[in-house]
Structure formats: structure tokens, C-alpha cells
Symmetry: C2
Subunit: 347 residues, 2 copies
DNA sequence: CTGTTAGCGCATTCAT
DNA sequence: ATGAATGCGCTAACAG
């Protein structure tokens, strides 16, 4: 029950065990080249004193920190926390710890966090860049020595690889599906249209509409429930009201559903609904909501795996071989067809 | 665009600036006792070389790491990720980083993670102990020099303070509310009854039932959707079917709702439903679900604040004044009355 | 097999 | 106002 002394060091152990500190070090690191007896004795003393190696000292000697950082807009966001969970699993598998920092999509916070992570000599960074066109960020990432992988959104003009969903394709297929149900006036709803993911999704929507020779109808002013309600009410009372809605993100889908529910607009009879991003109760709501399901877990997992690949290579070769410029991995989404799009209409 | 050299050090900067390393150190740490001209020059060189102080070296010199760890069952769990988000905010306010580790409620994983965190000299630990009676854990926490605060669940027989919801009181009031609606046969549903929080909630339920001279009816075999369905079907077809259900955790509430929906049992007319833990769409489902709303954010925030209080004191006094034994802070919950309990029955 | 020694980057005396 | 020297805990030569 001893407490609050500074933690025991190698030399504390060495003294108590009557050996040199190198021997203790060897024992701690696997015990090669140590006689069985010494091994036993030293192990016992280590146990007894509760010795824990000091990582800072190891790092100072040039070892990896075995810490990686992950920068996500919000830890509380189910999508990103799922990514983080997966990343943490991979980190653990690589004997590493994961530092999580919320950026709130703020480039300043993001930069600050990266700097802080670098002070701590993080081996690598996983990041969801607040702004994919941020050239300052790109330059900084290029110049730093830590490994890095972007996910969910790429970082343009940088050597940083990325793992993203094929947003365009997913939105394209979702829109096509609504069209196949016979819908002609499909309203595309979202906010924050400056985000890479949303831009891609809008493109996918437009592509499908254009191919079907239907007019695109995009409203990007939805930020919260109020604005969603306002937008939907406006469109419904227009001369050519929509007969379907495609929402481009989780929260927008929910706002739209709540609005339609409140207005007692029958889904999908009067208005069909298709969302981007699955959510826990999408299948439990009545009607159940059809959505594009992103592989959130895979996003985090693959990004982390890629990161450790880099880290391990880097450590092996000391000097990195020319890293291939920002290779991008695209993951497929899945269209989950439930009732709100018109499939499986409950009798 | 220089890359992959080892990062510049104090002495690199010193050489380039033509000063001693002490001077550079001073500049980095506020620039006192340095002439304005030197200050300028050194600052410029620092900027230019992209010098970033090496935290490991600082730590080795006895400084705090400015890293705290948080151990939660799962990062992807909305409740805990909300706590983590709050904790991270407090960490940031204290210029610290947050390492998140998922324990999966496994004492072994938990212990392993704590050890790892300690190697990294984390200044403090925030933890949701997998088992509140774990004496090995208690002993270890008592003997270590890092600060620590438990949240959501306490650690018994330890000096570790804790921040928890008043689970007993909350369940007590929720049950009372159902009783006031006239329900007599209230079924209490959950799984993992060994967890502190669930034990407390069961006690609260029992207390309310006993006070009302009603028979307690607890089924703790609900782990997933299937078991929930099985349990509910069994109870419904018994001689004395319940007229209300109190679920003790988030997922159980959802399983119960889905089962009742599937069986087309009208809520709350035939069976009322009250859940523990709020969730995003509780108000959107039809009927909307009444729940006990825990102050998840406050839990994380208060725990983190307490932790930094300890850390700061500890650092100031070098030796800790006798830490008061495991003081416990209890936070109040809020009963959110929606439709499923019988309030606000939609006409 | 085992021990001695030299730094890793930095903050900190203590001189100047 | 400035700098040289010391040591934090550890690993990796090197020497026995």
C-alpha cells in the first residue's frame, strides 16, 4: 500500500536485486541473455516493487511512443465514435494507445490539436480534416515526420492517403432507387454544403437526376429542426411539391422525418424518404427509414490499419521510401431498403 | 517542405540562432530574462525550423505529461461517448490530451489499460470500473501515484472518489410514477444484473413496489433482442400478465419497444413502458417513450473537473495531503414524461 | 551471462 | 542577460 513515492526506476530495482541496471532492463524486455536464476530473482523484485517502465525515457531514446491520435469533429457523434472505437481496437492490437481529440470541424482547433499531438511524439495521426482544401494543413502534414491517414474526407494536395466512402456513387444509387419507384420531383436536403462528403453526395444526386432528365432540386439550408421544418413546409406548399426527399446526413433525415410526422404527411404514399447514414432506430420507426448505410466501422478500421502499416514501415527503414502520393481507398456503401422509400409498404 | 529528418531540438535552434540552449529554452517558455532582440531572433528561428518541444524530455525532467486517460466500457456507446466528449473538453481547457480506452467491462482489459496508461505517466485516470467490488483494482488504484476519479460506478474500498447518478432514487421515482398511473403489475427488465448501476436501479424499483405493497417482478435475463422477446412473450402469456414494464437500460428499452410493437400490444393502453436512459429518438417514436434521463454530460464533466483539481493540488504540494477517502458525488436524474407511461396519451 | 557508460532533449541550478 | 553543466530513466553499444 505504499503510495506517492516517485515510482521505482530501473536502478531502484537493480539495487534491491543486487544486479546491474542493464540486467533489469533485459529482464523487462523479454529476459534474453539472463541466467534463469537471476531472471527469477529480478522478476520477483520487479513484481514486488510494482515497477513500471517509464515510456518517456524510452521515447527519449528513440523508441516509438506507441500513441496515435485521432481527430474527429465530435466524440459524441455516433458515426465518428464508431470509427474511433474501431480505430482503438486496431491501436490495441498494435500495443498502442489512442488519443481522441474533437475538432468541431474548426481548422484552428484542428491545427492546435495536431501540434499538441506532435509534441507528444505521436507515432501517427488519423484525421477527419475539417476542410479538405486547407492548404496550410496540407503543407503542414507534408512536412511533419509522423505518419498520417485521413478518413471520411481526404486532404487534397498532400501526401496523406485517405479512406473514404464512395459518397457520389452511394447518393447516385440512392437517387436512382427513388426514381425507380416512380418519383420525379425529388428534393435533396442538407446543410453545411462546404463539406467534402456533402458535396460529393450532391454530385451523385445531380448525376442521377440528370441521367433521368429530371430537374434537380437542392436545398442546402437545413441546419437544425427549425430550418428543416421551414424548408419542408415551403417546398410542400409550392406549386410543384416534391414527391420524395433525399436527406444527405443523419440528423437531417431525422428532422425531415419528424417534420413529416408532425405534418401528418403519409410516408411514403405522399412523400417518400431516403436518408444518408444509418442510425440505430431507423428500422424501428414507423415507417422504417430506408438509408444509405456507410461502413463506419470499416472506415476507422482500415484507416488505422493503413496508419500502422506506415508506422511499421517507417520504423523499419528509418528513412521512408518515397511515400506514394495520397492514395485513396474508397469503401462501398450499402443501400438498406426499408419502408420509407416505398419498398415493403406495410399493408 | 523538408520532411523526415528527426525533428529539430533545442540545440539545433540554439546553434542556428547563435545562442545557448538555455536561452532558447527560456524563449520557448515565455521569454523572461531574455533581451528583446535575442527574443525576436530566436523566435524567428524557432518558427522557421518548425521547432516543437519534446514532451517526453519534459516529462523525464519531472513535468506533468498533460495526458489523462479515460476507461469506458465502449467508445461507441452513446452514453459513454457523451461522457468522454465532456471529459475531453475539460481536458482541453486544462491544456491536456485525453486517451480513450475501451474496457468492454472486462477487468483484465481494464487492468491492462491502466498499466499501459501508467507507463505513459498519465497525470490522472477517469474510469468506469468494470466491477465495483474488484479488490485487486481497488488496491492497485490506492497504491498508484496518479490521480483517479471513478464515474458512473464507484470503486469500493478505495481512496478513489466517484461521480455517479443517484440510480436508486431515479428508479424509485420512475416506478412510483408508473404506480401513480394505476399500474400494479410492473415488470422490471434488464440484464447484467451484477453491474453496480443496475443493482441500484433494481433496489429503487423494489423499494417503490414494497412501499406500495405491490409484488416485485424482476427478470434479469434480457441480453439482446431475442431474450427480450422471449421474456416479454412469456410474461404476457402468464396468468398474471404485467400492465407496465420498467426497463433498466437503454438497449433493453429499445428491445422491449420493438417487441411490443411487433406483438401489436398497444402502449400504454395495454402495457405502459418506462425506460432508463434517454436516447435520441425516444421522443420521435410513436408512442414517444418516457425515460429517466441521466446527466451523462455532467457525469463526464464533473469527474474530469474533480480529477484536475486533484492533479493540480498534487502538483502544487508535491506530497498529497491525506486524500479524503472515496468521497462520492451523486447527480440527480430527470424524469422525462412522454407518452409511453400513460402521460400525454395522444388522442 | 553481466555490468559500465554514453547519450536521447530538456529545465535548471549556478556561474559569469 | 546569457551559457555550461547536470541529471531525469532508459536502451544500446561495448567490455569483461
Amino acid at each position: 500500500m505504499k503510495a506517492y513515492g516517485s515510482p521505482p526506476t530501473l536502478s531502484d530495482v537493480a539495487r534491491k536485486a543486487g544486479v546491474g541496471i542493464t540486467t533489469v532492463s533485459r529482464v523487462v524486455n523479454g529476459g534474453d541473455q539472463v541466467s534463469p536464476q537471476t531472471l527469477q530473482r529480478v522478476k520477483k523484485v520487479i513484481q514486488q516493487m510494482g515497477f513500471i517502465p517509464n515510456q518517456a525515457a524510452r521515447v527519449l531514446k528513440g523508441e516509438r511512443t506507441k500513441i496515435i491520435g485521432i481527430l474527429i469533429p465530435s466524440i459524441a457523434d455516433p458515426f465518428f465514435s464508431t470509427c474511433a472505437e474501431a480505430a482503438q481496437q486496431i491501436a490495441r492490437a498494435n500495443d498502442s494507445l489512442l488519443i481522441v481529440a474533437g475538432t468541431n470541424n474548426d481548422p484552428r482547433l484542428e491545427m492546435e490539436s495536431i501540434r499538441l499531438l506532435l509534441r507528444h511524439s505521436a507515432d501517427g495521426l488519423l484525421l477527419v480534416p475539417a476542410n479538405d482544401q486547407n492548404s496550410e494543413l496540407a503543407a503542414f502534414l507534408n512536412s511533419m515526420s509522423a505518419a498520417a491517414v485521413a478518413f471520411d474526407r481526404p486532404v487534397f494536395s498532400s501526401r496523406i492517403g485517405s479512406v473514404v466512402t464512395d459518397n457520389l456513387e452511394a447518393a447516385y444509387r440512392a437517387t436512382q432507387h427513388l426514381i425507380q419507384h416512380g418519383h420525379q420531383r425529388i428534393l435533396c436536403l442538407c446543410g453545411e454544403s462546404q463539406l467534402y462528403t456533402l458535396r460529393e453526395r450532391i454530385s451523385g444526386y445531380r448525376k442521377a437526376m440528370e441521367e433521368a432528365r429530371l430537374p434537380s432540386l437542392v436545398d442546402m439550408n437545413v441546419k437544425d429542426y427549425r430550418s428543416a421544418e421551414y424548408a419542408i413546409e415551403s417546398h410542400l406548399s409550392s406549386d410543384f411539391p416534391p414527391d420524395a426527399i433525399l436527406t444527405l446526413k443523419n440528423s437531417t433525415t431525422i428532422y425531415a422525418f419528424e417534420t413529416l410526422q408532425k405534418l401528418e404527411v403519409p410516408i411514403p404514399q405522399k412523400i417518400a424518404l431516403m436518408g444518408f447514414d444509418d442510425f440505430e432506430l431507423a428500422g424501428t420507426l414507423r415507417p422504417s427509414i430506408s438509408v444509405v448505410q456507410q461502413p463506419a466501422e470499416d472506415l476507422g478500421r482500415v484507416a488505422a490499419e493503413l496508419l500502422f502499416e506506415q508506422i511499421l514501415n517507417r520504423h523499419k527503414t528509418k528513412r521512408v521510401s518515397t511515400p506514394k502520393r495520397g492514395s485513396q481507398i474508397k469503401l462501398e456503401s450499402r443501400l438498406v431498403l426499408r419502408a420509407s422509400c416505398g419498398c415493403k409498404v406495410a399493408s
